[in-house]
C-alpha cells in the first residue's frame, strides 16, 4: 500500500533521481501551461486570462480524486501522506502577504523558478527577492516566533472542519471548481467581452 518508502527501496541516490524526475515533470507542466510568464499569471487577478485558476484548480481536483479514490480502493494510506499542519492566523497572514507579492511581482515562488529557468530577467529578480525575503524572515523569526507558532490546529482537513464525510467534501470542492470556472468566465466576458482562447 502506498506511499512507498522509496529511500528504503531505491536508496538515497535512487530516491534523488525520483525527486529529480518528478521535479522535471512539474516544471515542464508549469512552463508549458504558461506559468513562466508573469504577464499571464498577473492577468488572472484582472480576469483577463483565467489559465492559472483553470490549470491549478483542475490539478487540485484531479489530484484530490486520485488520492481519495486510491484510498477508497486500499492502494494508498491517506493517513501516511504528509499534510501540512494548520497554524490558522499565521497561515492567513502569510497567505495575504504571498497574495500581495504575487500581484506585485507577477510570480509565486514556484513559477519564479520556472521563469528563471527560462532565463527571464523578471523571474531572476523575483527569485533574488525571494532569497532576500527568506533570509530576512530567518533573521527576524525570533521577534515573531510566538505568533508564528500560534493557533496550531494540527493536521486539520475540511471533513473535520465541516463534520461531514470526505466524499461529500470532494463533491463540494469539484462543484466549487466548476462554479468558479463558470463564474469567473462570466465576469471575464462581462468586462472584456470575450472568454479565454480555446
Amino acid at each position: 500500500m502506498a506511499p512507498f518508502d522509496i529511500v528504503a527501496t531505491l536508496g538515497v541516490a535512487g530516491s534523488y533521481l525520483v525527486y529529480l524526475g518528478i521535479g522535471c515533470c512539474f516544471g515542464f507542466i508549469l512552463e508549458s501551461s504558461g506559468f513562466g510568464d508573469s504577464r499571464k499569471l498577473a492577468a488572472q487577478f484582472y480576469f483577463r486570462e483565467l489559465r492559472v485558476l483553470k490549470v491549478m484548480f483542475t490539478a487540485i481536483v484531479v489530484a484530490m480524486l486520485l488520492v481519495f479514490w486510491a484510498t477508497a480502493l486500499g492502494w494508498l494510506d491517506y493517513d501516511d501522506i504528509n499534510v501540512n499542519e494548520t497554524f490558522l492566523w499565521p497561515g492567513i497572514v502569510g497567505g495575504l502577504i504571498m497574495g500581495v507579492g504575487f500581484i506585485l511581482g507577477g510570480y509565486c515562488p514556484g513559477t519564479s523558478l520556472v521563469s528563471a529557468a527560462t532565463l527571464k530577467i523578471d523571474g531572476m529578480f523575483f527569485l533574488l527577492g525571494l532569497f532576500v525575503g527568506v533570509f530576512a524572515f530567518g533573521e527576524s523569526l525570533g521577534y515573531i516566533n510566538e505568533f508564528w507558532n500560534s493557533s496550531h490546529m494540527g493536521r486539520f482537513i475540511l471533513p473535520e472542519l465541516f463534520g461531514i464525510e470526505t466524499g461529500v467534501v470532494v463533491i463540494l470542492v469539484v462543484c466549487l471548481a466548476i462554479a468558479m470556472f463558470l463564474g469567473f468566465g462570466w465576469i471575464q466576458r462581462l468586462i472584456y467581452g470575450r472568454g479565454d482562447p480555446e
Binding site: T71, A72, G74, D79, E165, G167, V168, I178
Partner: protein, 216 residues
C-alpha cells in the same frame, strides 16, 4: 448541443461523476483499512512478532529513555480490580481519538496494548495499526500471564494458584481480594527483586538510544 459535448463539459461531467461515485463508495473504516493492510502487517500477528514477554514489558516500564504508552483496553470492572502503573484505560471504540497522539509519537515511542489475555489486545493492535502504524506491541498472554509471573499470593483469594492460560476467553482469571487498581504489588514490580526471566526481545526502537552515564 455542441456546447454540451465540448471537451471541457465532458471533463467537468467526468469529474463530477467520479466525485459522486466516491461519495457513494465512501472511505474505508478501520476494519476495512486493516483488511487492506493485512498482507503487509497480518504476518506480524500470525508469526507472533509483536507479542512481547512480560519481562520485556517490565524492562520497558523501567527504561527512562523511551516514550512508553500502555493502553489497557479492558472494561472498567477489570481495570478497577487491577491495572499496571502508568497504563491508560481506553475502550476499543475510543481508539480513533488517539490518532493524533499516536501519529506524533517520537522515534523512541513504544506502544504496548494489554488486556486480560490476548484477544482484545490483538483487536486493539489491528485498529491502532490501521489508525497510525505506531511501533506497537501486545503483552503476551495478557495480564493473566503477567500476574502469573509477578502476582503476589496475598493479593488474591485464598487458595488461588497460577491462572490457566489455556482457552482464553477474555476474562481476568485472578480473583483479587480487593479492587486496588494500581496499588497491587504486581502493578509495578521491582525489576531488581523479581526473578529474572529468559525471553526473546522483540521491541525494535526506530532510533537507537544514546546511553549516557555519570553526569551526562
Amino acid at each position: 448541443m455542441s456546447t454540451m459535448l465540448n471537451p471541457r463539459s465532458i471533463g467537468a461531467a467526468f469529474l463530477l461523476a467520479a466525485a459522486a461515485a466516491l461519495a457513494l463508495h465512501g472511505q474505508p473504516d478501520l476494519e476495512q483499512k486493516w483488511g487492506f493492510m493485512t498482507p503487509e502487517y497480518g504476518a506480524r500477528l500470525a508469526y507472533r512478532e509483536v507479542y512481547i514477554d512480560p519481562a520485556e514489558l517490565l524492562g520497558l516500564i523501567n527504561n527512562d529513555n523511551i516514550e512508553l504508552v500502555i493502553y489497557d483496553v479492558r472494561d472498567e470492572r477489570d481495570w478497577n480490580m487491577f491495572h499496571l502503573v502508568d497504563a491508560e484505560r481506553i475502550a476499543l471504540q475510543d481508539l480513533p481519538g488517539q490518532r493524533e497522539r499516536l501519529r506524533t509519537l517520537s522515534e523512541l515511542g513504544v506502544v504496548v496494548i494489554v488486556s486480560n489475555d490476548e484477544i482484545l489486545a490483538s483487536e486493539a493492535w489491528k485498529r491502532i495499526m490501521a489508525l497510525a502504524k505506531p511501533n506497537a506491541y501486545i503483552l503476551e498472554g495478557g495480564l493473566n500471564h503477567w500476574l502469573n509471573i509477578y502476582g503476589v499470593m496475598d493479593d488474591e483469594a485464598a487458595g488461588h494458584d497460577k491462572a490457566s492460560l489455556v482457552a482464553p476467553d477474555g476474562t481476568l482469571r485472578h480473583p483479587f481480594k480487593l479492587a486496588l487498581g494500581a496499588r497491587h504489588a504486581a502493578a509495578r514490580p521491582d525489576e531488581h527483586r523479581v526473578r529474572q526471566r529468559e525471553y526473546t526481545a522483540k521491541v525494535r526502537l526506530l532510533k537507537k538510544v544514546a546511553k549516557a552515564g555519570g553526569c551526562n
